[in-house]
Assembly symmetry: C2
Homo-oligomer: 328 residues x 2
């Protein structure tokens, strides 16, 4: 390996920290710096030797960074940063607002392509590795049904929704796949499953002083979109318990394609993830796709891409010949 | 869909029949014909309307076939047919002699590239979808171990080995993953597993008249390479039982990548297949990759390829825009 791939990180929350950590596991990459909108002096990285820069100065580093990994949120950060930064950098992001992906793709593409940058959007596990497995499943088993189950995992969006309920001081929400439903799908039975049958939701809530537990519980379980279509359990715990037992961010899930070939022959493909840290895993996926973005860019393939456009071999450190020899 | 992808099948055993069946599930493809070294009049296809041609006449159909799917065996057929036919056709094959893949790739590439054909070799599930998952696992979780388990499934090679034992009239052999070992791997424990700990082997044997069961059993379980490193059980059955209970060709298995991120965080990725018919599933994979070969060829990408070189999106009937909208 002569030259290392030079990576920049834009945004340093859980995801940014995970990316820092994942780059350290890949000796063909080096971390040029972290860009933050906070005061750079107040940021403590895992590795003291990595420089921290003010986000405002990011364009000064255009020539020093091969791929910029955007670690902001999908709601407020990426819709602005994605198109803005793809004008100047090849980028990777984890944009995950499914309904907005087509528009986001177009705006990033319009920035990246004329500026000869390569930007892979919506990278992670869902969207990301789960999407790829939905695609492989449907392409191979044309006649069949695809099922996605999530969890057991901490859902950020649902936890936020619980925290907005009056009387709630702190909360986490776990999404739990219904084991019985998963097993029915695995058997090849092709069940039709309602929302309620696929997942249950489990909340751990710290009440504010004087809040009415019954009323809080009622407000949670009846909340439209988030909880009313599910069987939800609400457990009240202390603030100490919340900190001690619910600080980790586990997640995971299953993509199962159940299909028929020939004369009604059952075939089942399953992909599953069991993640003790959702942000660290997502970060590891981002870093692997940064390698692909670099290679595509070197190869003159510009514009916005998704995981569907990336040949698996581009993700590996190994040469195509070594991959054929060692991994096929 | 204006023009259908025109497919030819070379060789009509279990795999060829599976390909015929899979093409019928994909309305963007049409089967131009089956090429056989047997007497074409003696072949009965699933669909009477599909023409059968003598293999000798195959070059007459050069302009009528977009992709030729080679359904011969890896031992004798493909090493000759692959390079010979890649001179004249874009091809797909399931070449699965792992150690020979690098050489085979080179010889097919030398035929395909100068003749502007696109040939994807070693397509199926192992090599194939399992290989892709080994690659994704290693690329995403740089620090970790990859485990491949096969089965429960009928192993053709091992069944043949049992049939060669003197006194054996008929036999099948099933490879069975050790559930305990699979569960240890799934737990993130990163166990070191011996060959004996990973799989057991189960044989169902019909004896020839007068054969010595004890001697046959001894010959099987002590056979080097095939059985001596495994715990093998041998069950003697009647010829009727063999036909009735062991005619199906189920297979499957697991690819598990267990790795660490950040500060010793466990992350487990698992891919599994549960196939009621191994050849029908393999055929379905071949057909999906035929679509990719056609598109790459249209796009001017010539030469030999493997599944590592194929972006997932190329396998789907859907447009890139529809995939982003519906499947990401």
């Amino acid at each position: 390996m002569t030259k290392k791939i030079r990576i920049g990180i834009a945004g340093y929350g859980n995801l940014g920290r995970g990316v820092e950590s994942a780059i350290a596991q890949n000796d063909d990459m080096e971390l040029i710096g972290v860009f933050t909108r906070r005061n750079p002096d107040e940021l403590t990285l895992l590795d003291d030797n990595v420089p921290v820069y003010a986000h405002d100065t990011i364009l000064d580093y255009k020539e020093k960074v091969d791929v910029l990994i955007l670690c902001g949120g999908s709601k407020n950060d990426l819709p602005v940063q994605g198109p803005a930064l793809a004008k100047h950098f090849s980028t990777i992001d984890s944009f995950d607002t499914h309904a907005e992906i087509p528009n986001y793709f177009e705006t990033v593409d319009q920035s990246a392509k004329p500026n000869e940058n390569t930007s892979i959007i919506s990278v992670g596990w869902d969207p990301g590795l789960f999407s790829i497995n939905r695609l492989y499943g449907e392409a191979v088993l044309s006649e069949g049904t695809t099922y996605t189950f999530w969890g057991k995992g901490l859902s950020q969006g649902h936890s936020d929704a619980v925290r907005r309920v009056p009387g709630v001081k702190g909360a986490v929400q776990y999404t739990i796949p219904n084991e019985d439903a998963v097993n029915r799908v695995r058997s090849g039975a092709l069940p039709e499953l309602s929302t309620r049958e696929k997942h249950t939701r489990e909340c751990y809530v710290v009440l504010e002083d004087g809040a009415d537990a019954t009323e809080v519980k009622r407000a949670i379980v009846s909340m439209p979109n988030y909880f009313s279509d599910y069987d939800t359990t609400v457990n009240f715990i202390t603030e100490d318990e919340l900190k001690r037992d619910h600080a980790a961010m586990p997640h995971g899930g299953f993509v199962i394609r159940s299909g028929k070939t020939g004369n009604d022959t059952n075939q089942v493909m399953e992909y599953s993830l069991k993640l003790d840290s959702n942000p660290e895993f997502t970060s590891s996926v981002l870093v692997a796709y940064a390698r692909a973005a670099y290679r595509l860019n070197q190869n003159g393939e510009f514009g916005a891409k998704t995981v569907f456009d990336i040949a698996p071999g581009l993700l590996s450190k190994k040469t195509a010949a070594d991959l054929r020899k060692e991994m096929l």
